[in-house]
């Protein structure tokens, strides 16, 4: 982790957006039941970019997280999705106090964690635990499963006095569906899915209220992934946990989350309930992301619109001015370059009662359904589909080249999902 003095002092985007903060972000009020258990405001993490070996000069900053806002309510699961490098893990590490924010606040039951110290801080840390992504590297290979799961008790002995630890660990193994007799085994003796269960058991050891899970099932195979997702679901109900569930797999996030935040280049660009985000997205990035997810149904390929984004995500050391998505957005106009769009309900939806009424950081937010409604995908048999379509029996139909068939032109065939992002 970075030493504090290395950190750039809250420059740039995050500080700027404080000026534009919303009413939500007002002074601390005492925590009451029903308030968010966690409030994240303008959270930022900037890593300095330095040059020179002996005399380091700061030449810029990697704005890994650059003004993130969200609330987490007791007992709910907030999913956070976004592409690689958008800052998800960095947010997670700040939530569990493994990284110190450059700017912004994380309030646990109304209290800013950054202002706590000593016992008060320790108590909060106990209540927010993390489950890591990679079951292969996050467990110390030289420790037994019992030591791994029981390790948090070394720091928080008040939770389980020495004599009761073994029993507690065995109970935890049982809770996550592992044989309690495995307590003396080593991580390499377990499969990936089992190792992820060990990581989950460790996360539960201190009876936390909040679990931050960073890609907890990404490394697992489909059949094992389902086992672990079900386990997480069950544990949440059993221990009334609040979850921050980070993943890049949008289907899993929908499955597990009550609300979903979409991150792009260090910021949340859209946030809402699962139906609001998946069925009524208003931010172009969310729409592109959702449309790019292949759905497990071959009948979808012919009538699903694909928004193919061009180019790569810009470097977090060099974030575009105005709207950070504008370099890849097919709707970008002059205003997008000049003005930072706020994460708020867009003006056009503010007064209407529609699922499009949720926070979206776009000047030109528009509802656009990109995931076909539930059930629709199962329906059309090959015979009912359009006449241009290939019958499933035809072989190998779609790949036959028509004389004038330019690459990328519309026509039947495998992989013919190329509706370019050029049109809106």
């Amino acid at each position: 982790m970075h030493a504090d003095r290395d950190e750039s002092a809250g420059t740039g985007g995050a500080a700027g957006s404080t000026l534009l903060s919303k009413a939500r972000q007002d002074a601390v009020t005492p925590y009451t039941e029903g308030d968010p258990i966690l409030q994240v405001r303008d959270l930022a993490k900037h890593y300095p970019l330095t040059q020179g070996i002996l005399f380091k000069r700061q030449i810029g900053a990697v704005r890994a997280v650059d003004g993130v806002d969200f609330d987490l309510y007791a007992g709910e699961t907030l999913g956070i999705v976004g592409e690689s490098g958008c800052g998800k893990s960095t947010v997670a590490k700040m939530l569990v106090h493994l990284e110190r924010p450059t700017a912004g606040a994380i309030r646990y039951k109304g209290e800013d964690i950054a202002k706590l110290s000593g016992r008060a801080l320790k108590a909060v840390r106990r209540n927010i635990q993390m489950v890591f992504q990679d079951p292969y590297t996050s467990l110390n290979p030289r420790m037994t499963v019992g030591d791994i799961i029981g390790e948090p008790y070394e720091i928080h002995p008040e939770v389980a006095p020495k004599g009761s630890r073994r029993q507690k660990v065995q109970d935890l193994l049982d809770v996550v569906g592992l044989n309690p007799e495995y307590i003396n085994r080593y991580p390499h003796q377990f499969s990936g899915g089992q190792r992820q269960r060990i990581g989950i058991a460790r996360g539960l050891a201190l009876n936390p209220e909040i679990i931050v899970a960073d890609e907890p099932v990404s490394a697992l195979d489909v059949s094992v992934q389902a086992q672990v997702v079900n386990l997480l679901d069950r544990l949440q109900a059993e221990f009334s946990l609040s979850f921050v569930f980070i993943a890049h797999d949008l289907s899993i996030v929908r499955h597990i989350s009550d609300r979903v935040g979409v991150m792009y280049l260090g910021r949340i660009v859209e946030i809402g309930s699962d139906a609001e985000i998946y069925d009524h997205p208003t931010h172009p990035y969310t729409q592109a992301l959702l449309s790019a997810v292949p759905v497990p149904d071959p009948t979808a390929r012919d009538h699903r619109e694909r928004i193919i984004l061009h180019g790569d995500v810009p470097s977090p050391a060099n974030i575009p001015s105005g709207c950070r998505f504008r370099t890849r957005c097919w709707k970008a106009r002059e205003r997008c370059e000049l003005e930072v769009p706020l994460l708020a309900v867009p003006a056009e939806f503010r007064l209407v009662d529609t699922p499009a009424r949720h926070d979206s950081a776009c000047h030109f937010a528009e509802e656009k359904r990109v995931v076909p409604p539930e059930g629709e995908l199962e329906v059309p048999g090959p015979a009912e589909r359009g006449s241009t379509e290939r019958e499933p029996g035809e072989q190998p139909g779609g790949t036959v080249r028509e004389p004038g068939d330019k690459p990328g032109s519309a026509g039947p065939g495998p992989g013919q999902q190329g509706s370019a992002g050029g049109e809106a």
């Binding site: 592409e83 690689s84 195979d221 489909v222 059949s223 094992v224 992934q225 389902a226 997702v229 079900n230 679901d233 890049h248 949008l250 289907s251 899993i252 929908r254 499955h255 597990i256 699962d274 998946y278 592109a288 992301l289 959702l290 790019a292 997810v293 292949p294 759905v295 497990p296 149904d297 071959p298 979808a300 390929r301 694909r306 193919i308 984004l309 061009h310 180019g311 790569d312 995931v371 409604p373 059930g375 629709e376 995908l377 090959p382 499933p392 029996g393 072989q395 190998p396 779609g398 790949t399 080249r401 068939d405 690459p407 990328g408 065939g413 495998p414 992989g415 013919q416 999902q417 190329g418």
Partner: protein, 325 residues
């Protein structure tokens, strides 16, 4: 048929015993067709591909039986030099990890150009022009300027596109893509898959797409082969399999994935784990995990039953599976 794999067996001789990584694989690909090979990690997808390409680690690997017919000749019976020629010019492979399959100390242009120097006898200068053309073709922006850059200077998506350029360079008739987008984000995956499909269409290439992503399969495949513990357990045209699987393992896989268009209910989870390949259970390898298993499943290995003309299932009870939707 462009490629036909018949009853292929591959073993690895390891300290723990003989791992039967591939136990009778049968599949085929026609020109211009996309076959998706689906299966969880360790099911033998890559080993089969390596055997086809002739890049299997031998030893410890050993081809213990079967035929690999490519344009009607058995590759396993060819002389090494003839095999090498086919591998260089008629088939190509794209790997999951583009960074480690590109040479880090050669520029991208040198690596692309090399193919034309070696196989087409071009001059370095012409080969470089060809390399720029190919990079343009796979939409690397500013190809002329970037042709002299090294692999690590490109993003993951661009590197994978360069791999595609390399695979397509000599216009092979067969391409094997082993998890080509597994390491990429969805938006980049969409770019890469679109490109692959477009080039395939243009050159009428046969494509074997190895993946564990049921979404990608549904998107691009003409037909599917599902692998479990080194065997093909079901093979069928893509629409049929998603509509009604004829093998309990396929069915379990399809039911266990969360969906983008639905809020969660409890997911179906196949119980247990895939077997250790040095100790594959007798009878049907899936029997310890199968909800339909009966006595016969524990004693008799199911053959690849013919469900219909274009469809096979290695399940004694394929009919019941098909009916019990």
């Amino acid at each position: 048929m462009l490629l036909e794999v018949r009853d292929l067996h591959v073993e690895f001789h390891t300290r723990e015993g003989v791992a039967k990584a591939v136990n009778g694989v049968n599949y085929s690909v026609a020109e211009g067709e996309t076959l998706a090979v689906l299966g969880e990690s360790g099911s033998g997808k890559s080993v089969t591909a390596q055997a086809i390409m002739g890049i299997l680690d031998m030893p410890p690997g050993k081809i213990a039986g079967g035929e690999i017919l490519f344009k009607d000749q058995d590759l396993l019976k060819l002389k090494p030099e003839e095999r090498r020629r086919i591998r260089g010019q008629e088939m190509a492979m794209i790997f999951q990890d583009a960074l480690s399959s590109l040479n880090p100390v050669l520029t991208v242009g040198q690596q692309l150009g090399e193919m034309f120097v070696v196989h087409r006898g071009m001059s370095r200068k012409d080969a470089r022009t060809k390399a720029v053309e190919l990079m343009d073709r796979v939409r690397i922006p500013a190809a002329k300027e970037r042709v002299g850059q090294y692999p690590h200077q490109f993003s993951g998506g661009m590197r994978q596109r360069i791999m595609i350029a390399m695979a397509m360079a000599l216009e092979p008739s067969l391409i094997i893509a082993d998890e080509p987008t597994t390491a990429l984000d969805v938006t980049v995956q969409a770019q890469v898959m679109e490109l692959l499909a477009e080039l395939q269409r243009e050159l009428n290439t046969g494509l074997i797409l190895i993946t564990h992503d049921l979404g990608v399969v549904a998107d691009v495949a003409d037909k599917i082969a599902v692998m479990y513990a080194g065997r093909i357990v079901e093979t069928a045209p893509v629409h049929d399999i998603y509509k009604a699987p004829a093998h309990p393992y396929t069915k379990g896989l399809l039911q266990s994935i969360p969906r983008l268009d639905q809020k969660g209910r409890e997911l179906y989870a196949i119980k247990g784990l895939p077997p250790n390949l040095t100790r594959i259970p007798p009878g049907c390898a899936f029997n310890p995990r199968c909800p339909m298993a009966r006595d016969v499943c524990r004693s008799d290995v199911p053959p690849l039953y013919e469900v219909d003309e274009r469809r096979r299932s290695a399940c004694h009870f394929w009919k019941e599976t098909l009916d019990a939707r």
